[in-house]
Assembly symmetry: C2
Homo-oligomer: 254 residues x 2
DNA sequence: AAAGAAAGCTATGCATGCAGGAATGCAGGT
DNA sequence: ACCTGCATTCCTGCATGCATAGCTTTCTTT
């Protein structure tokens, strides 16, 4: 559950507008650098300018759009380097989360939830190759839950805030690359490796091995890096990562 | 220079409102948990409700206020634990910044700026005990510049974003505790230690010793922790840290 | 023909009107 | 005397009007 949904933001005009705009941006309805016209969105989204303005402001904080010097907002443009950067940051933050979670664990019963997510993923991995779509979506959600719970276990509100802020960028999310990679051969193997790392991480947490947990979490994000490398090698697959239309591909640099 | 001033936000109504509201909040004009009335601020700040609403939204992202379930915004309340947490996070992030800065340094000439800040601080430290106020303010600004430049040297936009986001909380800033501590005995010694650590850090950067640089930066924030401990021991001094009125003191916990 | 200037237009930023809802206060009942 | 229910009042969220600033287009001048 995203932080944005903390209140009943899905009923308010502003909340719905925010969700709709995010979806449009990630679907690639707008070109990077394009100026977002409020009036055009008024008739498209059937809401007044005020909630649109509010939603723009929040999207700017999320980093999907940025204020234009001449007023208004333009669609943000990302580079491959930005994605690498975001993944590296996620490694640092999740590593810290893992270390803190291990250090601050008072009762191993606190690991029940995260172990539950892991168990469900374990039972899902064998079949994930067959009925691709449905079970894969379930797997990705569980993966998100697993990583989210890891951060919660760190018991650090600031870290929580920071991670939420970082993963607001679509391709910085833990399973952003997993999906795209699933279209490539060897995906099943990657999943197996990921599960193995999850298990090691859980063991480290249970034994309160903070340093090992941090190292394992850092190593775990390298899977995302390898996935990114694979995805970059086949540009047709890049279209599968959310918000891909906002990414300035290397071939387009001048 | 704060990220918030990226545009001409200090001329626009919203920008001025944001600055004024932040100042009021940090000065302790509102009680934690208090509901912020838009109408009351309209006559107080002489601006319409629209920019006030916008400013509220940004303050909510900064973390100084939070949306109320029943609508509107309330002043956020912080605990001592939150400050410890923020300082610990800053340690992790600045440590990462130091490591990346060392690893990604291509030319030692890039260190000119940060060395300049350090040189100015060095020349200031001896006199900082005498003409307390003026030179101390200058010192704090230089300290902020030093830490900001360190983050820039990491060449990681995401890290930059993350640190900016974290240090939006007033007491999470590098020199938040330095000022309060300056009222206590032994302040000069702390400054000397800090400068020594800065020098070691610069040496590590110059020699591209990433791991050492990370360790030094992490050790450096422990100065903030020690300052916080000292400040907490003398509650009358706590009033000197910015935003202190938003901090739920331990004695007030039921 | 090209460049610059002026005029018109469009979109943003801000102010304010309006309606729905929450909080408060008062009154009545137990 | 306290609790509860109702009414009133205030406030928020949203829509929209208005003025200013920027952009475009066209006309004029060199």
């Amino acid at each position: 559950m995203r932080e944005d949904l903390r209140n009943n933001e899905f009923v308010s005009q502003t909340g719905r507008t925010l969700l709709m705009l995010r979806e449009l941006l990630l679907k690639g309805e707008f070109r990077p650098g394009e100026r977002l016209s409020e009036l055009a969105l008024v008739e498209r989204l059937k809401v007044s300018r005020t909630p649109i303005r509010l939603a723009f402001d929040r999207l700017a904080h999320e980093g999907l759009v940025e204020p234009s010097p001449s007023g208004g907002f333009v669609v943000r443009e990302f580079t491959i380097a930005d994605i690498w950067d975001a993944i590296e940051m996620r490694g640092v933050l999740e590593g810290t989360a893992a270390r803190l979670a291990a250090e601050r664990l008072t009762d191993t019963a606190e690991l029940a939830r995260i172990k539950g997510f892991q168990a469900q993923m374990d039972s899902l991995v064998p079949s994930v190759g067959h009925n691709t779509m449905e079970s894969f979506a379930v797997y990705m959600n569980l993966n998100e839950d697993f990583h989210s719970e890891l951060v919660s276990l760190a018991k650090s509100p600031m870290l929580q805030r920071t991670v939420t802020h970082l993963t607001a960028l679509p391709f910085a999310s833990p399973s952003a690359m997993v999906f795209a990679r699933s279209r490539l051969p060897g995906a099943a193997g990657m999943l197996t490796i990921g599960q193995e790392q999850h298990h090691s991480l859980l063991e480290a947490l249970e034994k309160r091995q903070g340093t090992r947990a941090e190292a394992l979490a850092r190593e775990h994000v390298l899977l995302s890096r390898r996935n990114l490398e694979s995805v970059l090698a086949d540009e047709s697959i890049l279209q599968c990562v959310p918000g891909s239309s906002l990414i300035l591909r290397a071939s387009e640099i001048n």
